[in-house]
């Protein structure tokens, strides 16, 4: 284990510089630049769908159903779906629930994970025992199985139509069963860096537990955890599609990429491939760009694996 | 030309055991090329111990690894020179043939035994691994050989200890296992790359004495790589001092201690406690070893050299000069004897 400890010291000995060097290192690679551009593009689409399509995604006229893509300049550039709704409008308005769900879930899981990981790693004793039992209970029921269970059991609770309301149920469930990875990671990092010399030195100088945790142990635990974030976001985005297939993800009338993919998949086999390819393309592009960023972030932070 | 290595006893006496001739090793990272070893030459005879001394970053370990072809070849590249084992240039050998030499004729012992031994295999397995996979020695015979090897390196209760794992051994014991492992195929040359650096002083002495005994008993050639001149005194016959990838001085061990010809060697001697010179103020060498990526012009030692004349800076790096009595030094003022 010694080599890992040595590297941690290498990373932390220029605390200020870590993110700067990471940033410089990342932006020199062409695939990271491309990935950042793509993810920024989709974040903008999610934030301002109006920019990309003026038609209302829920204005569906059955008489114009199943029109093949006509290209830009025509009323339906990306064609229409079987119930006559405009595909481009759905794509633009579908981005927000998918991305919003991903960011909320990962953000919340991160906060819970770090808090529990830090506490259990730092204090050990009964705190660690409780957290470990909690971990085991939640690990036993995997993420998607829990989502399937909870979202189908509580299917009738209607949380209203606001942006956030449509994703609140899947968000709660995915977070509820998504934090365990971060806790394990942070706990391991805390255990590892807890008895390093610089932490013991700080403790010897009379630093309080809180200061120790937040200014000494957390920064270097954060380093390894943040590398997980982009890949986790990618995971939730594709999980949303699976939930939509099971009918327990984002609720119609709201539209999301997952819903488009799950209803488009059969039509792909029925001779209307664009109904699946457009949303799937968006999803894969977003997921790919987040994962590329995640991988490079991890490589930058963990020189051993460069 | 694939020369086979079926050397008979006869020509063993003719060609020197191991010759390194004008060895150059470069490290390429991105567009930048760094020369870690530029022009190292030395020879090793059977039954003699050659110590290579120098601060970290002087290229001594790289030289050792170049001999064993252990350098990771995307960054590192041997850009010149020859390494002859019994007149046979190892660098020219194709991979399988060179591999036959490793372990069989030349073996190496590393500094940190805990990292160098595989944690998930028993000591017995790692000792007999070479025997079983290369010489297809049956399991029981290999186990006995392992017990003998541990006995040779004075590890108590060997029959029990071969079943245990590296993390169950103390630092000193692990180093003995490393040595035993290196001797498994009775090599003629043993390279010890800072074998005792990770150990405390008392254990250091035991290991050095063990190496000396084994080397004498088996008439092996021993290359001892260290940054600590003190360790070298009892065991080494010949000492070469390296600085910034170059051989700066080479002389028999008594001469090095009595009449250091290169200012760097003198500085090294002054920085270690000497029994024969009591009450002498220990001096640390000023400055830091040069970055290999931008070695100072002229004589690389000149920024830290007490003498530091203009010529040291302007002229190309001095070559090794023969000062008689097998003494050589790479310094413009080597002949003027007694450098302060």
């Amino acid at each position: 284990m010694t080599s890992a400890a040595v590297d941690l010291e290498v990373v932390t000995d220029q605390p200020g510089g870590t993110w700067a060097t990471v940033g410089r290192h990342m932006l020199r690679r062409p695939d990271v630049i491309l990935a950042t551009l793509v993810s920024l593009f989709f974040i903008v689409v999610a934030a301002f769908p109006g920019l990309f399509s003026r038609t209302d995604p829920q204005h569906c006229d059955i008489s114009v159903a199943k029109i093949k893509p006509q290209g830009f300049g025509h009323p339906h550039p990306f064609g229409t779906d079987p119930s006559g709704c405009d595909v481009l409008a759905q794509l633009a308005h579908g981005a927000r629930p998918s991305l919003l769900l991903a960011f909320t879930v990962v953000g919340a899981s991160l906060i819970i994970g770090i808090a529990l990981g830090l506490l259990s790693g730092f204090y050990l004793g009964w705190v660690d025992a409780v957290v470990s039992r909690l971990l085991e209970v939640f690990l036993v029921i995997p993420l998607l199985l829990a989502a399937l269970l909870l979202l189908s059991l509580f299917r009738n609770i209607d949380a209203g139509d606001g942006d956030f309301a449509t994703i609140v149920q899947p968000a709660i469930v995915l977070t509820g069963f998504g934090w365990m990875g971060y806790t394990r990671y942070v706990r391991a990092a805390v255990l590892e860096s807890k008895n390093l010399d610089y932490v013991r030195a700080a403790r010897a100088l009379g630093a309080s537990d809180l200061r120790l945790m937040f200014s000494h142990i957390l920064p270097n635990a954060i380093a390894s955890v943040t590398a997980l974030v982009p890949t986790a976001i990618a995971g939730v985005i594709s999980a949303e599609a699976v939930l939509a297939f099971l009918g327990i993800g984002v609720r119609p009338p709201a539209i999301s990429w997952g819903i488009m993919i799950s209803s488009g998949a059969p039509w792909f086999t029925g001779g209307y491939p664009y109904l699946l390819l457009f949303p799937l393309g968006c999803l894969l592009a977003t997921v790919l760009s987040f994962v590329v960023i995640g991988d490079n972030l991890r490589d930058a932070l963990d020189p051993k694996l460069k | 030309m694939t020369e086979t290595l079926t050397d008979t006893r006869a020509d063993r006496a003719v060609a020197p055991l191991l010759e390194v001739d004008d060895l150059h090793v470069e490290f390429r990272s991105g567009r930048e090329v760094v020369s870690a070893v530029n022009g190292v030459t030395f020879t090793l005879e059977a039954g003699r111990t050659l110590a290579i001394v120098g601060e970290s970053g002087s290229g001594k370990s790289v030289t050792a690894q170049a001999i064993m072809r252990l350098l990771q070849t995307p960054p590192a590249r041997i850009s010149g020179g020859e390494i002859r084992f019994r007149g046979q240039d190892l660098l020219a050998l194709p991979e399988p043939e060179h591999r036959a030499v490793c372990g069989e004729h030349i073996a190496i012992v590393f500094q940190d035994a805990l990292a160098a031994l595989n944690p998930v295999y028993t000591v017995g397995f790692q000792l007999t691994e070479a025997l079983r996979s290369r010489r297809h020695v049956p399991r029981s015979e290999a186990r006995n050989r392992a017990v003998d090897l541990l006995d040779l390196v004075q590890v108590p209760n060997p029959r029990q200890r071969i079943k245990e794992y590296p993390h169950q051994f103390s630092g000193g014991m692990r180093q003995r296992v490393m040595i035993a492992m290196a001797l498994a195929l009775e090599p003629e040359v043993l390279i010890a790359d800072e074998p005792t650096t990770a150990l405390d002083v008392t254990v250091q002495a035991q290991i050095m004495r063990l190496l000396g005994e084994i080397q004498a008993e088996r008439e092996m050639g021993l290359i001892l790589i260290t940054h600590d001149l003190g360790v070298v005194a009892e065991v080494a016959d010949q000492v070469n001092v390296m600085y910034a990838g170059r051989m700066v001085e080479a002389a028999p061990v008594e001469e090095i201690f009595a009449r250091p010809a290169h200012p760097y060697t003198g500085a090294l001697l002054r920085s270690i406690p000497r029994l024969d010179q009591k009450g002498q103020q220990l001096e640390a060498i000023g400055g830091r070893p040069p970055e290999l990526s931008h070695i100072p012009s002229g004589c690389p030692f000149h920024p830290r050299c007490p003498r530091d004349e203009d010529v040291c800076r302007t002229d190309p790096p001095p070559q090794l000069r023969d000062l008689g009595d097998d003494r050589y030094a790479a310094c413009h003022f080597a002949e003027e004897s007694q450098i302060p």
């Binding site: 399937l148 990618a234 997952g258 590329v292 | 944690p119």
Partner: protein, 334 residues
């Protein structure tokens, strides 16, 4: 070692108890909120109060606490626990004992998992080692990129596309050329068949395994990279051992340790993948059974299956830890 196993088993039982309690509270709350599954029994027809009550009793939901939201209904919980203790896992809404349902569903899901795990190990180890071996070269990037793409690909898309586009032409071609009962013909059969469970599960298992192998592949690559630079590998090379020997004994063997732990985590996620795979490919397995019973709010089956799945998961996690200790002697199971 034995004391460790006993302690872990006890902890596992405690966790299963917690899971059971959690499940009971959730399902009870669901029934209280969603209304009584008994009503679905009558379809379009409107039952009288007595008929409804008769069906409720038949469904084991007779207890009035199911009508008051928020009431934890601990009575039925203890009842179910005592039943479990006596080995009676209750029946589904139609009165079929859970043990029969499981006897039919469990083997299929386990067969699926065997194929999935083999797919992970082969693809994960193979591509992971290749990516590590040629680190930084184009093949390394392409492997990592394709693994990310497959990982992002929702599993149902692959299954739906395979089932509706590829199976029919493939199986008709195979039947014409190799005969209707030949291996290839059965391999590409559009859905699971009871007579040839293993053959018809291979492709679904492969596809499910494919989507799960990306994290696996990354882990193998990282573990092997760590070992490529390890000093003990340099020592092994210095002993003149062949490349193959060094790779097998000193690189793959050491990097298998984290890979085994990965099996524990990814196994739990494969359960959810199974729900979809079994649904699309019409495989009568645990995932499919669970999905059906959740739709019908068939509480005793839901609780029964999730409990058994958690016991299996805990078992696998314990086995993974034991394997971990066996593979790495430094780990001491106190």
């Amino acid at each position: 070692m034995v004391s460790y196993v006993i302690r872990r088993v006890l902890l596992g039982l405690f966790t299963v108890l917690l899971v059971l309690l959690l499940l009971h509270l959730l399902t009870t709350l669901a029934i209280q909120l969603n209304g009584n599954p008994a009503l679905a029994f009558f379809g379009d027809h409107v039952p009288t109060a007595s008929q409804l009550h008769a069906v409720e009793v038949r469904y084991g939901l007779g207890d009035s606490c199911y009508q008051q939201p928020g009431n934890p209904c601990l009575g039925p919980f203890w009842h179910r626990l005592s039943e479990y203790a006596h080995g009676d896992f209750g029946t589904d809404l139609e009165g079929r004992p859970l043990t029969d349902l499981l006897a039919q569903a469990l083997p299929n899901t386990l067969r699926l998992f065997v194929i999935v795990t083999i797919t992970w190990l082969i693809i994960g180890m193979l591509l992971g080692s290749v990516a590590a071996r040629f680190r930084g070269r184009p093949i390394d990037h392409s492997i990592r990129l394709t693994s990310v793409l497959i990982d992002a690909f929702p599993v149902f898309v692959m299954l739906v596309v395979y089932r509706f586009i590829f199976t029919v032409p493939l199986t008709t071609w195979a039947r014409r050329t190799f005969g209707s009962d030949s291996i290839p013909a059965l391999l590409f059969k559009p859905s699971y068949s009871e007579e040839h469970p293993w053959l018809t599960l291979i492709i679904p298992g492969l596809l499910l395994g494919l989507t799960g192998c990306a994290p696996f592949l990354r882990l193998v690559r990282a573990a092997q990279l760590e070992n490529y630079n390890a000093e003990h590998v340099r020592t092994a090379r210095s002993k003149g051992l062949s490349n193959a020997h060094v790779t097998a004994y000193h690189i793959v063997r050491n990097s298998s340790v984290p890979v085994v732990t990965a099996v524990g985590f990814v196994f739990a996620d494969a359960l959810s993948g199974a729900v979809i795979t079994e649904g699309v490919m019409n495989i009568r397995g645990m995932g499919n059974l669970l999905w059906q019973s959740v739709q019908k709010s068939d509480v005793s089956v839901v609780v029964g299956i999730v409990t058994i799945l958690s016991v299996v998961t805990i078992g696998v996690m314990l086995l993974v830890d034991l394997a971990y200790a066996a593979l790495d002697p430094r780990i001491r199971l106190d």
